[in-house]
Symmetry: C2
Subunit: 581 residues, 2 copies
């Protein structure tokens, strides 16, 4: 805001000049006092300037018709990449549900394209009908030495990003970077604190002295609580808890039921989705789903709505601009027929009506792919069939065993048949080769391992989404189809693909950084369903086979992970051979 704009706000508030817009006759839920009061809302320059009955006429008027006015919703932590959509395409999914602000950690883009990737991501945010703030990715790469990534954010680059006005936090720093302390990561924490931006946590399973050490190190919030006991322990330490309700991780019911039961204060609680897929958003909603579930579980509408507005604004120090319908703040608000459930009929952002009756009024124009997003699937050497064949020096191999519905896996073993000098897939025993191919044109690494749980009877599936390094992952029943699947991903510059008999059966291209589609919401949802169906047709029983595949890449989630450098024993934090000695 500049001096001229501030003068205009003051002039409009005193009535010296007219408001741009007066939303007349609403029942405003005041997030500060919990009251519901009949008022008009006066807007100037995109901000609220007056909240009072009987305002003088504005240049435009909107009939509020006694609807409830509540602040627009803020998702306090999310990876926009999990939606597979560009920020522009995402608008259609979330804005009609009342989400007017995302605090996004573009961790995946950073791992693909580093600082330039983040800059290009920020460049995509102009002209959107919602706001996005940056949680600066804190661990790019997540597991240095165990994976090759396209991007690397060093300390100076992290500081450069933290200093940006769009940056609101240091993004989810995991305990491994603090306990024992890594100098580089503690320096990021201190720098973030120095800029007044909270370092965000990721304290999965942490408890007792280690949790206290983590809090003492400055990590100010956590979105990984799965039990009420974890929530309560964190609140007591002065940490903010971001109650997560995403696609696979769903913690809201357990946490909110406990808060209601124990009558805990809610001012240290926010909502986040972390990772939520577009089809789930379409079906359930977004932050409105969180608010309404919390009300069903026994929070008052005031408490639940505040968790989606004022609380995150305060925690991330955006309260000067967001989180309340009050003078000086952005005119981001929702008009709803009832407070329980909340079903936004009209969505205003910056005083502009951007969605009505569940539909975006004007889709943002599709953006051009930014430079760093293009050509990110670059194999240094052309792979061959033999990359997917394990020479049979021994028959006993380690196997990554999927656990249905979980992100963690089990380290198993298998004894494979040998034919033609190579260990053979065991279709009956569901032991299939899985390969990870470095895709940033750096090394040409290809690592091969075995996995149980995909259940493919033929063909192969592949993905360029592979947490957190996002190299190519391919699992299949034979090397020809694995090779074809990889070739298909190179051709489409990323995505999800299902191949059978050398033919692409279905493909969802994700050509932006190998992570995002360039297509609109409905097409992405349909494309994802198509490629999942194709995987099922190949025999895969998993509900979300490509998500399961992408999590195989994690070198940080027990027990085994596959990167381009090889098979990682996560607990031991080292590479291990596929063949058992």
């Amino acid at each position: 805001m500049d001096l001229g704009e501030l003068r205009e706000l003051v002039a409009a508030a005193t009535g010296e000049i007219p408001c741009d817009l007066v939303v007349r006759g609403v029942r405003l839920l005041n997030v500060h006092t919990g009251e519901v009061l009949p008022v008009d809302i006066g807007v100037k320059g995109g901000r609220v300037v007056q909240v009072a009955p009987d305002l003088p006429p504005g240049e435009r008027e909107f009939a509020g018709k006694g609807l409830y006015a509540i602040p627009g919703f803020i998702d306090s932590h999310m990876h926009i990449e999990s939606t597979l959509l560009t920020p522009a395409a995402l608008a259609a999914a979330i804005v009609p549900h009342g989400t007017t602000c995302l605090l996004a950690d573009p961790h995946e883009i950073a791992n693909v394209a580093g600082l330039q990737g983040i800059r290009d991501f920020l460049g995509l945010l102009e002209g959107l009908p919602y706001r996005v703030f940056l949680q600066v990715p804190s661990r790019v790469p997540t597991a240095p030495g165990l994976e090759t990534t396209g991007g690397y954010l060093d300390l100076p680059e992290t500081e450069e990003l933290l200093a940006l006005p769009q940056a609101v936090a240091l993004g989810e720093l995991d305990p491994a970077k603090v306990l024992p302390p890594s100098a580089e990561h503690l320096a990021k924490v201190l720098y973030a604190q120095g800029t007044g931006k909270p370092p965000s946590g990721h304290a999965a399973g942490l408890t007792g002295p280690r949790l206290q050490a983590y809090a003492a190190a400055g990590l100010s919030d956590d979105h990984e609580c799965v039990s009420f006991e974890e929530l309560s322990e964190r609140l007591r330490l002065g940490m903010t808890v971001l109650v997560r309700e995403g696609s696979s991780e769903r913690n809201l019911e357990e946490l909110i039921a406990g808060v209601v039961r124990e009558k805990l204060p809610t001012d240290g609680l926010c909502f986040c989705t972390d990772d939520k897929h577009p089809a789930d958003i379409l079906r359930e909603g977004h932050l409105d789903w969180c608010v309404n579930r919390a009300i069903e579980l026994g929070l008052s509408p005031w408490q639940a709505i505040r968790m989606a507005s004022w609380n995150p604004a305060r925690h991330f120090r955006l309260e000067r601009d967001l989180g309340t319908i009050a003078p000086g703040r952005f005119a981001d608000f929702l008009l709803c027929p009832t407070l329980a459930p909340v079903e936004p009929r009209y969505v205003f952002v910056g005083g502009r009506l951007v969605a009505a009756e569940g539909e975006l009024l004007e889709a943002p124009s599709p953006p051009s792919p930014p430079p760093s997003s293009r050509g990110t699937v670059r194999l240094k050497r052309t792979p061959t069939k033999s990359d997917f064949l394990l020479p049979a020096a021994g028959e006993e191999v380690r196997v990554i065993e999927l656990i249905p519905g979980q992100i963690v896996n089990r380290a198993g073993t298998a004894t494979l048949q040998v034919a033609g000098g190579h260990a053979q897939p065991d279709l009956e025993g569901d032991v299939l080769p899985v390969a990870c191919l470095e895709r940033y044109g750096k090394t040409g690494n290809v690592a091969l391992a075995f996995v149980r749980g995909f259940g493919l009877r033929r063909g192969a599936i592949a993905s360029s989404v592979a947490h957190d390094h996002h190299n190519l992952l391919v699992v299949g029943t034979d090397p020809e189809d694995m090779l074809a699947a990889v070739e298909a991903l190179v051709e489409s510059q990323g995505g999800f693909v299902a191949v059978e008999g050398g033919e692409v059966r279905a493909r969802l291209p994700l050509p932006w950084w190998g992570l995002l589609s360039a297509r609109p919401l409905a097409e992405v949802v349909a494309g994802l369903e198509e490629v999942r169906a194709a995987a099922r047709a190949l025999g895969c029983p998993l509900p979300t086979p490509f998500m399961s595949l992408s999590f195989l890449g994690l070198p940080t989630v027990p027990e085994l992970g596959l990167t381009d450098l090889g098979l990682v024993d996560v607990r031991a934090h080292r590479l291990v051979p596929v063949r058992l000695p």
Copy 2:
């Protein structure tokens, strides 16, 4: 905090190295959850690192004996000058009462000595057994063109101060600077916001559209609420209300009774004293008085204690360091036998026991007067008796009429006798001459006017505390005594003095900036009582004659004020002649 210190915190939290101190066996009131839990408190490097039962042994141990542990209290807005004490001497008054942090606006020092005055003030804060943060004076002078001040803080200087790590806010900007907007003051607001420091308000009596305009301009809090309606109106606008309970302005009962009655949430409320005299602190206490009164009025101990700790820490963005007993925060806490009332038995600051059983354990060493504090009473020319005589060109004069117990006054008139060519004091009618002498060696201005309400029958009293310009003010029954009083103030370089028959009857020297004593608490309290008694002996019926005198100087509080430039019609914001036309 540097990297090494942060590493130590983490190491002590995990138990890798011992804590410096373990306070064992307390019942901790958790400000986040409202729970009371039995724990030990582990401290390392002045900060809390562990809050849990059964901590491992510390290098030192303190037996908590089941006492309640609560966070140290934060005064969210105060003018340290109102105590007449140096920050070191003030420790004895406030720390035993549990105040471990002051958010101080050294507005008076700034008006006397400008930027260097603030720098010197900050230099006095080292080694104190409590913390002081800076609310950067925003209007120095308060009434440009209507008063001569020693200091002037321009925009670059204000920005320099706001950028300091000790600065937490732009200090109380009054509505006159915003409505209509002054470019310089709005620029201060924008700069403060840019540094993440809230602009603080001073919205006395403001309501309706003007209050909304004031909030829209970015003023984030107010400590001038006198009615529950004002409090409620401000909370609804997202402003934080600092409930004030000082020496003369006492708003707590009215405000808190309303909050209790209407069951308003309290997380937007703090306590402050604004101006509280040392004798009142000695008699009543400080923040503990506020907390206990609020509990008596019906707030829960949790709500009241939070208003004195976590709430101000959050509003002023100190929550990383202050306001809760939790890992990573300064070990500033109180141990109390009961929660209602709160009577701190032990006070810890930075993990050091600084007060016990109502006494400071070690008085800070008396500081030397900083350069800018010395020699601030410099008259450009030697005054004479005739400065205090109004040549009798007319007999009808304006009179400042005191209103008992109030800071505002009434503009009256009087018809004075003329003798020897001069208008004569009217002792029977209680109309006395009052003069304001420029004291910064700049102009030699002397302004003369008349006042009703001091009731002096003989002699004169004078003060170098004269809001906000702090020139010399003297009121008396005859010019000889007025002259003698001024000479006494020059001699002592400021203070309060009572003179009769050319003799000093009592004097409290305030040689630091003409505002603060160099003496310890008890002596200042005794000296103040002595000089008040002397004024009473001269006939003055006012309970606090020197405070009444100092408020006469205000060119901003209706209806009349006297500065070195003359008599100010406050509402018209201009100088007016003493003689009526």
